[in-house]
């Protein structure tokens, strides 16, 4: 079985390299950016080169600087949303799997309703209740995704709980918290971590969508979504402003999805036995 496993790791490596490049941009932006985000000294819509690697936008701000801050914001949005989704989703999912009767039905219905609720609508609600900041966007995306994670966790936990080794653990007097920590979570982890990686990519897309609509991080924090929106009007004359964030967005989401695929193949307990 050596061939499939090398292919699996190739997927994982390709994903890590793609997403890693952008992660590097984001990390560097914490320490250094070529220009201040509100520096408009470059002249409006300057082409690439001449002190500005990718040129400037319609206000004269450096595009590469915005791209770097944008990648940082993309990672913040992805990580933040997934953390919220995981915390709420895993807790609700495990609870729902353990409850029986009407309580289980209620929790399951609640998760289904939350899934049916459009993320954008939820985000507008959160933004209206709070304010248009990155935190609001992340909170909204995280809440919406927690329903997806919660439903998945509930099904996964229920499947594990039906296994004989859980009955064996109960027979040997192991307490429920220890069964959850020792047997249930490790066994749902491979499937869960792949799903969380996919949610990470979706969260970045959602944040870009929200920023495009003006519901994300306010200026001068450049987000890829807002860059796309701002460059829309001048796309024919200065395409770099829209192409650059677009390409990075696609690269990051594909990279994260490749990581998810690679993880699925390496973490799958059924495949482990064969290797």
């Amino acid at each position: 079985m050596s061939r499939p496993s090398t292919r699996h790791s190739a997927t994982l490596i390709a994903g890590c390299v793609t997403a890693g490049l952008i992660a590097l941009l984001a990390l560097v932006s914490l320490l250094w950016v070529p220009y201040a985000p509100d520096d408009t000294s470059g002249g409006r819509l300057a082409g690439p080169g001449g002190g500005h690697l990718l040129g400037t936008d319609k206000l004269g701000r450096d595009l590469f600087t915005q791209l770097m801050t944008g990648s940082r914001i993309a990672f913040e949005a992805g990580l933040g949303s997934v953390l919220i989704a995981a915390a709420i989703g895993i807790t609700l999912g495990v609870l729902a799997a353990f409850t029986r009767g009407w309580l289980d039905d209620t929790l399951a219905a609640l998760l289904d309703i939350l899934i049916a609720f459009p993320t954008l609508l939820l985000a507008m609600l959160v933004v209206a209740a709070r304010s248009a900041t990155l935190a609001s966007a992340v909170l909204a995306i995280g809440l919406a995704q927690s329903a997806v994670v919660g439903r998945l966790v509930r099904i996964l936990v229920k499947r594990v709980l039906a296994q004989d080794y859980i009955t064996a653990a109960r027979t040997s007097g192991t307490s429920w918290p220890r069964i959850v920590a020792g047997h249930v979570l490790p066994n749902i982890w491979p499937t869960l971590v792949v799903n969380l990686a996919l949610q990470f990519g979706l969260a970045i897309l959602a944040e870009a969508g929200l920023s495009y609509l003006g519901l994300g991080a306010p200026p001068p924090n450049a987000s890829w979504g807002r860059m796309l929106q701002e460059a829309q009007a001048t796309f024919t004359t200065a395409p770099a402003g829209a192409l650059a964030p677009g390409i990075l967005l696609v690269m990051l989401v594909i990279g994260v999805n490749l990581i998810a695929d690679g993880l699925r193949d390496t973490l799958d307990p059924a495949a482990r036995g064969r290797r």
Partner: protein, 266 residues
């Protein structure tokens, strides 16, 4: 006093269908009772009900007294003390009986840690001893392995070691040899037989295989469609079955045996 006293046990499924109907049985300390029946006759459900481990949505009625504790209607908390200490269970499928992601040693350590409060090197020694007692070769290596790295027969021995870890008064064996090769099956039966004799442990042995039950038990209860159709000394049942279903079971076992006789050179 009997270690197990079941009176009128009835189990209803989620759709209110009666799956086990009015089963009564008793097991005295050190006694070995066989529960025979085809798939779907309710014998495994009966076994789970004895420890209050019925799947979600199923309800048991009647009375199950396990070492003086009423199991039917008892809470999970009350039963935690009974399970493992008074009765332990070995399942049919050795692959699902062990957690695929946990090393064998840690799984065997679980009941030893919770029940006997063993820690550190004492726990490690107890794990190796538990694996040794089920005649596993190289117990240290097996303790470090994951379930998929050892054979089906070895997995079943590990499951047996876990069940015996806390010296229960009653061992419930739910088709423990059905998923194994015939040659491994015989070894496993011998092992269970020896171990429970050494400990003077009571056994409830569940199987669809009359010959297997006849080998390890003294008495048997035959189940069909959730009801008890016949009960008695296992030799009596084999020699002179009364119920039509038991007759059919004995006849088919004899047919197989005579096929062997015909084939074997004299």
């Amino acid at each position: 006093m009997n270690i197990l006293d079941v009176r009128g046990l009835t189990i209803q499924g989620t759709d209110r269908r009666v799956l086990v109907d009015d089963i009564s049985l008793t097991i005295a300390p050190g006694e070995r009772l066989g529960l025979i029946g085809e798939s779907g006759s309710g014998k495994s459900l009966t076994a789970l009900a004895l420890l209050g481990l019925l799947p979600e949505g199923m309800a048991a009625a009647g009375s199950v007294e396990l070492a003086g504790t009423q199991v039917v209607g008892a809470s999970d908390r009350q039963l935690t003390g009974v399970r493992g200490r008074d009765a332990a269970i070995v399942f049919q499928e050795p692959l699902t009986a062990l957690d695929p992601l946990m090393r064998v040693g840690r799984q065997v350590a679980e009941p030893l840690g919770t029940r006997r409060r063993l820690r550190g090197s004492a726990l490690k020694r107890a794990v190796v001893a538990a694996l040794e007692q089920v005649r596993l070769p190289e117990p240290e290596r097996i303790a470090r392995s994951f379930p998929h790295e050892i054979s089906g027969g070895q997995r079943q021995r590990v499951a047996l070691a876990m069940a015996l870890a806390c010296d229960p008064k009653l061992l419930i064996a739910d088709e423990p040899t059905t998923a194994l090769d015939v040659s491994v099956q015989a070894e496993m039966l011998d092992l269970i037989d020896t171990l429970v004799r050494e400990r003077d442990m009571a056994v409830l042995f569940i199987s669809h295989d009359l010959a297997v039950v006849a080998k390890v038990t003294d008495r048997a209860l035959v189940m069909k469609d959730g009801r008890a159709v016949e009960e008695g000394d296992i030799r009596e049942i084999v020699r002179a079955p009364r119920a039509p279903y038991t007759k059919a079971l004995v006849d088919s076992a004899r047919t197989l045996e005579s096929a062997l006789d015909l084939r074997s050179p004299r």
